[in-house]
């Protein structure tokens, strides 16, 4: 219901906006050269696509965290500063992460792998199930994210997420990016760079930042997309497959 309203509102705003824009900038329209960046946003999000990602951990280099750096820069996480008087160690536990690297060792073979972890964009996300207000939601195109207008900061989604993908904003925010708004007392997590997706871009910041080509993002429903082809090519796995959440993020080499 609320999605429908949102769409209607969005359509109304777009139409109204276009009308206003047409009146105001009609004389200069040829000069602007028909900038159409906002065009895709007028289309409702559909389930014809399902966004997903393949992470090839065999390509991940030990000690590399370029994807994390790329993510934090893209989503304004690098702008956060430790509150005055905070204990640096404690603050490090409270600082939000959308992405992090993890090094794991196989209990039997001792094989070591390094991999990035983030929201796995489940088809059946436990965070969405438990959220009392519906702030934690899954878009039709498979992106799981938080509506920070109705998040009350109860942190139940953080209790429910099997991947520890979510962060709570513990402090006042003075600097942020308009593409990734955040506020004290709300929960947030990786949203597959949804602002890029909605602008018609085809890559995420972590993918762009990876020097080893270990991350492939795309439409899992399109058999010809790069990610679908890569997933077909070699075996891959989902984390906590036993939970049958059908994650949108898949790993190779672990």
């Amino acid at each position: 219901m609320s999605q429908k309203i949102d769409q209607e509102r969005r359509q109304f705003v777009s139409v109204a906006g276009l009308a206003a824009a047409a009146t105001a900038v009609a004389p200069g329209v040829f000069l602007l050269g028909g900038s159409a960046e906002a065009e895709p946003r007028t289309d409702p999000v559909t389930d014809k696509v399902r966004y997903g990602m393949l992470i090839d951990t065999t390509k991940c280099a030990d000690g590399c965290s370029e994807c994390v750096t790329g993510c934090e820069k893209e989503n304004g996480l690098d702008l956060l500063r430790m509150p005055e008087g905070a204990d640096p160690e404690e603050w490090d536990r409270q600082r939000p992460r959308w992405m992090r690297t993890v090094k794991v060792k196989d209990r039997l073979t001792g094989r070591v792998s390094t991999l990035p972890m983030m929201c796995q964009h489940c088809e059946y996300p436990p965070c969405v199930d438990v959220c009392p207000t519906g702030a934690s939601f899954r878009r039709a195109d498979g992106i799981v994210m938080v509506d920070r207008h109705i998040c009350i900061g109860c942190r139940y989604c953080m209790m429910a997420c099997p991947y520890k993908a979510r962060s709570f904003i513990h402090e006042n925010i003075d600097r942020q990016l308009s593409i990734a708004p955040r506020g004290k007392g709300c929960v947030e997590s990786c949203n597959f760079c949804v602002h890029r997706v909605d602008n018609g871009e085809s890559t995420t910041a972590c993918q762009d930042a990876c020097p080893h080509g270990a991350i492939v993002f795309g439409d899992l429903n399109d058999p010809n997309s790069e990610v679908s082809k890569a997933l077909r090519e070699k075996a891959n796995t989902q984390l906590r497959a036993d939970l049958k959440l059908n994650t949108g993020v898949r790993y190779r080499g672990i």
């Binding site: 404690e90 438990v130 009392p132 998040c151 513990h170």
Partner: protein, 405 residues
């Protein structure tokens, strides 16, 4: 059995206002602590992105669980028709409401965005047990208020059994909902168990009864009203049975876990290697919270001493808070099995490197907020008994016992 007369709490004014003043100070300090946490954000607490629910949740859940349990005493009178408990029903209802309000207040004030309570009350995701709980809590307050009305207003007396039944069923559903907050969490080893719901129900029986006994004995003692041995010994025996039932559920919970290999690491954490959580489990919850009070309550000599009954009740309450700490914090401190067949040897986000528990050091403001909830519950109760006729004039044997004399 004589007719029961109820009278307002008649202790002298200086004593009454002194009591309220003490509680007022606790409330003021708790209020300041809450404002501080709200203003600064949760970074001033010990909570972090690993332990997301801290001490406020421990208190809030304890109070909510105890609230539903405090209503049982009324239910024994109306649902199960035990005449001897009928006279205790009014205080039972009042205490249940007061404890619930105290617990909810703590829960709400610990939200990241408490000002969005209106969002929580108007925007629902009905797959969320949290959303159901909002209905269950509000419904509980309304139903118990009506139940109290049917007890206290003569014209409404005829609806008393029906209201009692609805209230009792509702309280069972409510505690099922509270236990299911944890029971439904598939991601975490310590939760994700259907037994959480009935375990919380039986915990509510014990904690609600312990608090009820303490409040009853305190208010009666201060006002010089008699409680006969007959009733008191029945209540303390019930408390002993409830604590034994909690013990049984804890035993079954851990034995079931111990049987499955996948839970061995979690069990080793709580029962053996978990440091503070292991200490709290054995020392606080099992020994002081269950075994010692059971020993006192069922002891032929000690069990008849009023001082010992008070001590046992206090221990049950303390053990209950410790139990919540072990469940809420211990359950989060144990690292999640994101990679069940692997060991995490390095992590950029504190996820239990080499199986190490996650760090949480509770802060003072969190405790103060929790104590504030307790103070709200006690203040509401004391004001309630002062202004309305909640307390029987006497609970002496000849008044309450239908078979006396």
């Amino acid at each position: 059995m004589k007719k029961i007369h109820y009278r307002e709490w008649g202790i002298e004014s200086p004593r009454y206002w002194g009591l309220l003043a003490v509680l007022g100070v606790v409330l003021a300090v708790a209020g300041l602590a809450t404002l501080y946490m709200e203003h600064e954000g949760h970074w001033v607490t010990g909570m972090n992105n690993q332990i997301v629910w801290g001490v406020p949740h421990v208190f809030a859940i304890f109070l909510i669980v105890a609230a539903s349990g405090a209503l049982n005493i009324a239910a024994f009178g109306s649902v199960f028709g035990k005449k001897i408990y009928k006279s205790l029903g009014r205080l039972s209802g009042l205490l249940a409401m007061a404890l619930l309000v105290g617990g909810l207040l703590v829960l709400v004030l610990d939200l990241g965005q408490p000002s969005r309570l209106i969002v929580a009350m108007t925007t629902y995701n009905f797959k969320s047990i949290f959303a159901w709980n909002i209905y269950l809590y509000v419904g509980f307050l309304v139903i118990v208020a009506v139940y109290l009305f049917t007890m206290m207003e003569r014209k409404a007396n005829k609806y008393y059994p029906a209201a009692g039944l609805v209230a009792f069923v509702w309280r069972l559903i409510l505690t099922t909902g509270t236990g299911s907050i944890f029971g439904f969490l598939v991601a975490r080893q310590g939760y994700d168990a259907a037994i959480m719901a009935p375990m919380f129900i039986i915990m509510s029986f014990a904690y609600g009864m312990a608090i009820y006994l303490l409040v009853l004995m305190f208010t009666f003692k201060l006002d010089g009203r008699p409680i006969g041995d007959k009733l008191l010994l029945r209540l303390k025996n019930l408390l002993g049975i409830f604590v034994a039932a909690v013990f049984y559920f804890v035993l079954v919970y851990h034995l079931t876990n111990l049987y499955g290999t996948e839970n061995h690491e979690y069990e080793a954490f709580i029962l053996r290697d978990g440091g503070i959580y292991t200490t709290l489990f054995w020392g606080g919850w099992v020994l002081l919270g269950m075994l010692v009070p059971m020993g006192i309550l069922f002891h032929p000599g000690l069990g008849r001493s009023r001082g010992a009954i008070v001590a046992a009740s206090l221990l049950v309450v303390l053990g209950g808070i410790v139990a919540m700490y072990v469940i809420v914090i211990g359950g989060q401190a144990f690292p999640m099995a994101i990679f069940p067949d692997k060991i995490i040897i390095e992590s950029g986000f504190y996820e239990g490197v080499n199986g190490q528990p996650l760090h949480y050091a509770p802060s003072l403001p969190e405790f103060l907020l929790g104590l504030g909830g307790v103070a709200v519950a006690l203040t509401a109760t004391f004001v309630g008994v002062r202004v309305l006729k909640f307390l029987p004039e006497s609970l002496a044997d000849e008044v309450v016992d239908p078979h006396h004399g």
